[in-house]
């Protein structure tokens, strides 16, 4: 088992190397550099003269060809140094550290909500399969699943921030906090919670619909198996058959998905964070792409790819743990 894990880690490292190499090349080929973009946005009177520009370029390593610059970056990373953001002038690790909390708050909350709601809902749908109430719920979930997040986000904003303006239903439009000072940390928590409601709903409804359908479909497949017939022949009641015999089998693919959702957990949703101006990783990514902030982009890409590979490994490990038929040889 250890061999397998080590082998996966080694392969993963190779893939990571390849990915970072490609991404670096890709983003360096995008026209514009952090300096030109930043410079273009400042007013003309503060334009740097060519000498200063050259000096800055050398300082940031932008004067070297990209494959050279890549290896410089790589050697830094090997020493644990992710570099400094060009546009924000702060260490990349610090930026990531600031943003990771808000992202985690949203995604962890969304995941907990999803699991807490979709498991009972999925069991219910499988138990009442074919009946009118199950059909209605399934159709409703299906339609929910088809609403794009940005449409839902905008619609919710229109309803709860514009139309509900001044009423008790109003929810804040942007940001994580309202920027006002708070007397207690509980007050701050409540403020964040109020701001988090809309983004959380947007993040959750899609995965809720998806997971419920998945559990339902999988359960129905499991219920067709021979060992369910055996369980019934033993005298087990419908609830026991569903919750004990069938669900335990559905848990197998479900748990592996837990592993695969690892990257999303920390990567955040770019669209939702953008719409709600939530200060998370997704937004950082988006902004640094726009600013051509190479160190930050590379740092985030590295993190994201690492999480993807780790997530796959986690999924495989969880699968082997939960399914007695599979061993990690």
């Amino acid at each position: 088992m250890i061999h397998h894990v080590l082998r996966r880690l080694a392969l993963g490292l190779v893939t990571l190397f390849l990915i970072s190499f490609l991404v670096y090349g890709l983003i360096r080929s995008i026209p514009g550099t952090p300096l030109t973009v930043a410079v273009a946005q400042t007013d003309p009177s503060r334009r740097l003269n060519p000498a200063d520009l050259e000096r800055m370029k050398a300082a940031y390593g932008l004067d070297k060809p990209w494959y050279q610059a890549y290896f410089i970056w790589l050697s830094n990373v090997a020493r644990g140094d992710l570099g400094r953001s060009i546009s924000r002038k702060a260490p990349v690790t610090q930026l990531i550290g600031e943003r990771i909390g808000p992202t985690l708050a949203l995604s962890a909350g969304s995941m907990l909500l999803t699991w807490a709601l979709s498991i009972p809902l999925g069991l219910y749908a499988a138990a009442r399969s074919g009946r009118p109430d199950e059909r209605a719920v399934s159709l409703g979930l299906y339609m929910l699943y088809s609403v794009p997040t940005f449409v839902a986000a905008l619609a919710l904003q229109v309803v709860f921030s514009v139309w509900a303006e001044g009423t008790a239903w109003e929810l804040p439009l942007f940001g994580m906090t309202s920027g006002l000072p708070h007397t207690t940390s509980l007050g701050w928590l409540a403020d964040v919670a109020r701001h988090a409601i809309l983004p959380l709903v947007c993040m959750t409804y899609v995965s809720l619909a998806w997971y419920t359908r998945f559990i339902n479909t999988n359960l129905q497949e499991v219920l067709r198996q021979d060992y369910i017939r055996t369980a019934r022949a033993k005298g087990a009641g419908p609830i026991r058959v569903l919750v004990h015999h069938a669900f335990r089998n559905t848990l197998i693919p479900l748990v592996t998905m837990l592993g695969l959702s690892l990257p999303a957990l920390l990567g955040g949703s770019v669209i939702i964070e953008q719409i709600f101006t939530w200060p998370g990783m997704g937004r950082l990514f988006f902004e640094s792409l726009r600013e051509r902030d190479y160190p930050t982009i590379m740092g985030l890409t590295l993190l994201f790819s690492l999480l993807t590979l780790a997530g796959q490994l986690l999924a495989d490990l969880l699968y082997a743990w939960v399914d007695p038929r599979v061993s990690m040889e």
């Binding site: 893939t15 890709l26 339609m143 088809s146 905008l154 904003q157 990514f285 994201f304 993807t308």
Partner: protein, 368 residues
């Protein structure tokens, strides 16, 4: 000796002639009302998309000018299709007045709704009608069924022409992704060995690169993102999933007996793949392709929404949502395109789901 001859009853050739795999799947599909509804909706969309210039536009569908018959509306399909005479005569896109003034004998058949998806209608462009309201005054009304955006461009016209954009994006980008994915996946699955190893690594790398980076980077590199370049980019980022599925299918099928039989008769690998393996492997792949069309439309709208799509004025539904962001009081900029995207994605999802149920061999044996 009484013989045990089979009687006429027994020699029942009464089973109806088999319809083949796709014929049977189609019959099953037809029995699913929701899936059929989705298919009908997609069909309607296709009709609207094709007839867009005839439904909403400021150019006549057909007109007679100076003794000749012209079809100015074709300009909406491509700039170059606009009859040259109209630019020579300095129409500048304003047909109603110019036609009347420059040739009193002219007649024209106008689109159902006189609005343009790319610009605001100017006052008195259509005789007696005020121009489109600008800024946030463009509520849905009689002249502008779905309102106008901040630049005064009519939303209904944008929606109608956006249908063409959406369908094109969906089908073309998935077409590209499917072609690449099927080819790459089949090669990997059939040949195995180092071919498979190399292709699998490439697939893995492409899948691991954050999609957003890939798309945005590619878009930025091509500089001016036209709709065709967007489709190419979406296609180039969408193939790994299909490739993996094809590979799995081919791995499963290549050890099947009919393949060994084909090889025993001397068929070449190409022939085996094309004639024997692909028809069998395609069925399960059709489903993610259908879902992929919806996903492509979603992604394009999302990108337009974020500001990365076609530069304005664009007819994409996502661009309307982008307009909505700056002024949320203009709810019509959210709900109409939002509903359209929702219904489109729903329709494709229903069709994909129906396709899955219709072609799933396991479900066929459920009744024993």
């Amino acid at each position: 000796m009484t013989g045990g001859q089979p009687t006429a009853d027994n020699r029942r050739a009464a089973t109806p002639s088999p319809r083949g795999f796709w014929g049977e799947a189609w019959a099953r599909f037809q029995r699913m009302p929701l899936a059929m509804a989705g298919l009908v909706f997609v069909g309607l969309m296709a009709v609207v998309a094709l007839l867009a210039p005839a439904i909403a536009g400021t150019k006549p569908i057909v007109c007679r000018y100076k003794g000749q018959i012209y079809f100015p509306c074709l300009a909406y399909y491509g700039r170059s299709l606009e009859p040259v005479v109209f630019s020579q005569d300095k129409f500048r896109g304003e047909y109603p007045r110019n036609l009347r003034e420059k040739d009193p004998e002219s007649w024209a058949v106008w689109p159902l709704v006189f609005q343009d998806p790319y610009r605001a209608v100017r006052p008195d462009e259509w005789p007696g009608r005020p121009g489109n309201p600008a800024r946030d005054q463009g509520r849905p009304g009689r002249l502008n069924l779905m309102g106008t955006n901040q630049n005064g461009v009519d939303v209904f016209a944008k929606m109608v022409h956006g249908t063409l954009v959406a369908l094109l994006v969906g089908f073309v980008s998935m077409g590209i992704a499917a072609t690449i994915g099927v080819t790459v996946g089949s090669l990997a699955g059939y040949f195995g060995g180092w071919v498979d190893a190399v292709i699998s690594r490439i697939t893995e790398v492409v899948m691991c690169i954050p999609t957003l980076v890939l798309i945005l980077a590619l878009l930025a590199i091509v500089e001016k993102p036209t709709i065709w370049k967007m489709m190419a980019v979406l296609g180039l980022t969408g193939w790994p999933g299909i490739s993996r599925l094809m590979r799995a299918e081919l791995l499963r099928l290549r050890s099947a007996e009919f393949v060994t039989a084909a090889r025993a008769v001397g068929a070449s690998p190409g022939r085996i793949i094309l004639r024997h393996l692909l028809p069998n492997a395609l069925a399960p792949v059709m489903v993610p392709i259908t879902f992929g069309i919806a996903a492509a439309i979603l992604t394009e709208s999302g990108l337009s929404f974020l500001g990365f799509g076609q530069p304005p004025p664009s007819a994409s539904w996502g661009s309307l949502l982008n307009d909505a962001r700056s002024n949320l009081k203009m709810w019509w900029l959210v709900f109409f395109p939002g509903a359209a995207i929702f219904l489109t994605v729903l329709a494709f999802n229903l069709v994909g789901e129906g396709l899955q149920k219709a072609t799933d061999p396991r479900l066929r044996e459920a009744r024993k």
